[in-house]
Amino acid sequence: MPALPVRLAFCLAAGLLALPAAAQTTIRLTYLEEARVATNPLANIEPVPDDLGRAGAELAISDNNTTGKFLQQRFELARIAVPTGASGADMLAKVQKSGAGFVVLNVSAGAIDRLMAQPAAGRYLWFNAGAPDDRLRQNQCRANLLHTLPGRAMQADALAQYLATRRWNKWFLVSGPRPEDQLYAAAVRRAAKRFGGRIVGEKVWKYGHDARRTAQGEVPVFTQVGDYDVLIVADESGDFGDYLSYRTWLPRPVAGTQGLVAGGWHAAAEQWGAVQLQNRFRQQSHRPMQPVDYAAWAAVRSVGEAASRTASGETAKLSAYIRGPEFQLAGFKGRTLSYRPWNGELRQPMMVAQPRSLVSLSPQDGFLHPRTDLDTLGFDAPEVKCPGH
């Protein structure tokens, strides 16, 4: 491309350009990740990327810096990795050392509990980009803990609204034995009540973990539960969920944690400028962007957006702005995103998708809310009991 040398020349020229020498502000962020407990997802065609989440934070830092250069703002990202089960004091000491005021967390809910129990945690603005646990959004929230990853309730509500528009109201719920599967199943039950779903059958999958060889024999028998419209599977670690489709006794679609899945992001999103974000991400990380990457991206971009709008780098000022009524983040989903003041969860449209294509975006038309229809997904203010919010 002939343009490249020219571009280089202009970059150099831009560097020499005598702009008014305003003092540059540096805004520090830290990305903290906890080593994952190794699981063996049976669908082993897509291993969990090592940089899941971190890659999203890194892309957002570079987006922030492109913007920041026009405002004399510079964004720096420190990366901290801790072992599974690290103590709150250890994690906090590392965060303190990084000198950042904003921390993006890709850790378990337990690690968040341990961190928040540290008295000094109150000095930071924390973004939860990795733990979907509803308790952190319903009765154990914190004023300085925001959630860019949609909780299980938001996931289940988004899916339930879509099923309601299809009038697939009779659900057969199949959950795995792990605690997180049961939490997802609880969110599905809650969504059923809210959006007119009826759970006509419920079973726990106990056939051991490796269903690869035996699924064809077991699933048809396991799914003989009478009639239903859709099988909803709760299998967050991917132990068996991928083996249900096309093997059910009745020809029925599978949704939930496999099949038709609701999440904050999907690799097939292309509307509302999403193609640009997907392209930038792919160029940087050579893989598709996943929901946890998007959650980390949104967290870092929130800080960038607040810094542009307030022309400030002060943690307290930016934190107040992010949580305030003026804040808006453009997130490539056709709507502005903002944080719910009652529990700190990011208001956002949810992508309802099958593995290779986007099926719909929730909230669905017709689900109304006095404030914004985005608040029909997840916990609304009256359902939340959070001291300090």
Binding site: T66, A330, R335
Partner: protein, 324 residues
Amino acid sequence: MPHPLSRLAALLLASFAASQAMAANVYVSNEKDHTLSVIDSSTLQVVKTLKVGKRPRGITLSKDGKSLFICASDDNTVQVMDLASGKITHNLPSGEDPEQFALAPDGKSLYIANENSNVVTIIDVASRRVTGQVDVGVEPEGMAVSPDGRWAVNTSETTNMVHWIDTATRKLVDSTLVDQRPRYARFSADGKLLWVSAEVGGTVSVIDVASRKRIKTISFAITGIPKDRIQPVGIRLTRDGRYAFVPLGPANHVAVIDAKTFQPVKYLLVGRRVWHAELSADEKQLWVTNGISNDVSVIDTAALKVLKSIPVGRYPWGVAVSGS
């Protein structure tokens, strides 16, 4: 006294001449079909569909009206079409993923927003060469050149700014923060104001060019349409300074704004996801592209009424009208 018949003939001739004078070609880029629809503005019929490069988006006429510049985004090029023959005569080097562009008033330089690479590329149309690139914010999109040719402005969708490029030095000298996802920029005919739409913010900012400060933020409200479905994109201003027309995306309406008071005065229902607009040379017609309903709507600007919707290809994006 002339013969009554000759008078009738003269009348007929005059009306024929008038309709001839008014007849223009309207060009519409169809993003998903890789084609250009040509509409006769007097009959309101599609007369031709021409194949062009991949994912055509922004289109603009050359100053002499003989050729059309087409951003073929997925071919990473700007194509030049000879309108008499309907053939692509050559490509211009555009940089990566060109989406919108603006031709300088002298017709010599083309300023192209390269969405994927955060730069604005400047092309010399005659020699077909890149003469410069300027670094801007994330996802450059809207481009406009001031009527006096002094400023080239670019909007960056993720940085949420208007970047001011001095065309003499080709340097970025200032940036003005606007609302979320600025899509399009348009100077008033006198060059004193710059209008910028913010798609996700749902507003149009009016910026004073002399100070490069925002002086007014226009919001919209349409009964029965949620506020965040109102997503302004394209902008057209009448030369007399009376009206601004702003297509509102998924709100499926075009806002008519009093350009003196900056108040919306009317909303016109058009097709689905309306993005870009162009006025005819006499400013009696406004053409808008409805991306999802695969048609364009033509609006009578005197009556402020939608005359007709005309089916074109898939995802109509840009529109240009000969003579304007």
